[in-house]
Amino acid sequence: MAKQPQSKMSRALQRRENVAGYLFMLPSLIFFLGFVVIPMFICIGYSMTDATMHQKTATNFIFFENFITLFQDEVFLKGLWNTFIIVIVSVPAVCAFSLWVSSAIYKLNGPLLSAFRCIFYLPVVTGSVAVTVVWKWMYDNYTGILNSALTNMGILEKGINWLGDPKTALWCIILILFTTSVGQPIVLYVSALGNVDQTLVEAAQVDGATDLQVFWKVKWAQMMPTTLYILVITTINSFQCFALIQLLTQGGPNHATDTVMYYIYYTAFKLTEQAGHFGYANAMGVVLAIFIGLLSALQFKLAKEK
């Protein structure tokens, strides 16, 4: 698109653009600065204090003490570990699954394609609360459909206490997270596959490439930006996994499903000892944000190198 170079603009015109630009930005900026940017800075500030929910004592500035305590806090470290497992398992699984599903459905005819796309998107739309409520029943030790179906089929001898066993609880959460995460990547991959340059595909076929080769060498390469975007959003989503844990296990059994996100909430609102360590919880938030930032940057870098 041809645009007037900046230097050609007269000063009056530039001023006009400035005024108009900021006037159009104003309503959005009020909300963005007020409820996102300013809280972000307050969060960093708070993370260096010993603020609590009930301000009985004065708030003191304690520099990095929260961060030092944090990395000696076993529950936090366990939460960090669990968060990593969730991310490391669910991100590749979501990516691979949605890539396969999309490549299987993108050539189907219109109504069938949108039907499949809808079905895989449905768990997202249903909402985390409704999804969790029904999964909790399905996982139930006594009346759950999972146990009775598996015992009937002879896979299990007797029912498993899915959410009550530290060995299985985290995997149960990951499974639900998975079903609520694939919807968006599928939509994205379907549209990316549709946009792949057909001339390149045909050229490769003329050169005698197999379907599989065409897929990896031509299509996959062209979908890299989409994959990158999917990696980033899935990572962020997995880090934020909260509702599932709060509603299903509350971090239990024995911290087996504690995540950083849940521990932040727990520390800020549930910790009974001194009720609501806001400063400490904020320090965790800062650490989480740094981790997400680093991981996103790393993914960008890796994708660029390829």
Binding site: M1, A20, C118, V129, T143, I145, A243, I264, G285
Partner: protein
């Protein structure tokens, strides 16, 4: 036309079978919610799963509606007739999602247009700030937000959930993507014709970004409806609960009465699924446009 070899045909049949199985698995929770909501107690408590209700009953819904009562709405001291609490929760959810939707669409359409088409100073900086903020988990700023809301006397009102949703920069990003497509010549022509900035925006820009606004509207509505975390933190009294929050509280109270919970889950999810199915075309478009373009 390429002739298909038998192996690729076998793969095709295999993949269709797998897809159908997967689709059934993905639909199953919803099926279980809906049938569960209408099952009589004998089916619910049966240790062998009952695949189809032996009898369709509305007892679960009656129990749900009996559980709590609240005025249907309260608006500047004006209170509605007393009704089942679940209805109030639904009304709250609708109010919250609609307000978030309207405010987001207006502010994001204006800001997206400015970012795409106005060469004002600080534009690049502002845009990178917006992109960075999108990667930030919303929950990180939760505590400062909470403090802010109590200072503004908005804590425990639906506005405390609505405002941060509107501030979330995804909408601005999406509308910028859509506004990039407006041809500069048209804007130039309207300017030469002497139209004011406001008039240009309303008569030229808005009609051209309409699909974007549609996508953003449905996207915001669904996200705001399902944003359980924000609702959990910002809303304290039962009267201000949204339907998601209400059902979550019910679950904490009764873990045994699954029928009641399924009725609640159905009530929370059916409206939003209906909205999604009606507008899903816009929705798909929005998701795709929001992704990195170039």
């Amino acid at each position: 036309m390429k002739i298909q070899n038998p192996r690729s045909r076998a793969y095709k049949i295999f993949s269709i079978i797998v897809l159908v199985v997967l689709a059934i698995l993905f639909l199953f929770p919803l099926y279980w919610i809906i049938t569960g909501a209408f099952k009589p107690a004998v089916d619910i408590y049966n240790s062998k799963p009952v695949w189809w209700p032996t009898e369709w009953v509305t007892t679960n819904f009656q129990n749900l509606f009996k559980k709590r009562t609240a005025p249907l709405f309260s608006f500047f001291g004006l209170e509605g007739p007393v009704a089942p609490g679940a209805f109030r929760w639904l009304i709250n959810s609708v109010f919250m999602a609609v307000m978030a939707m309207i405010l987001t669409c207006i502010t994001a359409a204006m800001a997206g247009y400015a970012l795409a088409k106005k060469r004002f100073m600080g534009r690049a900086l502002l845009f990178s700030l917006i992109v960075c903020a999108m990667a930030l988990p919303k929950q990180v700023i939760l505590i400062p937000l909470l403090k802010e809301m109590s200072a503004l006397k908005l804590y425990d009102t639906l506005w405390a959930v609505i405002f941060p949703t509107v501030g979330w920069p995804f909408g601005v990003f999406l509308m910028k993507q859509f506004s990039e497509g407006i041809p500069g010549e048209i804007l130039e022509a309207t300017r030469i014709d002497g139209a004011s900035e406001a008039k240009t925006f309303v008569t030229v820009v808005l009609p051209m970004v309409k699909p974007g606004i549609g996508a953003l509207a449905i996207f915001t509505f669904i996200n705001s409806w399902n944003d359980y975390f924000m609702q959990l933190v910002m809303l304290a009294s039962g009267e201000n609960y949204t339907i998601s929050l209400g059902i979550a509280t019910l679950q904490a109270e009764t873990t045994i009465d699954k029928g009641l919970l399924m009725a609640g889950a159905a009530l929370a999810s059916i409206p939003i699924i209906t909205v999604f199915l009606i507008f899903q075309k816009y929705f798909t478009q929005g998701i795709t446009m929001g992704a990195v373009k170039g």
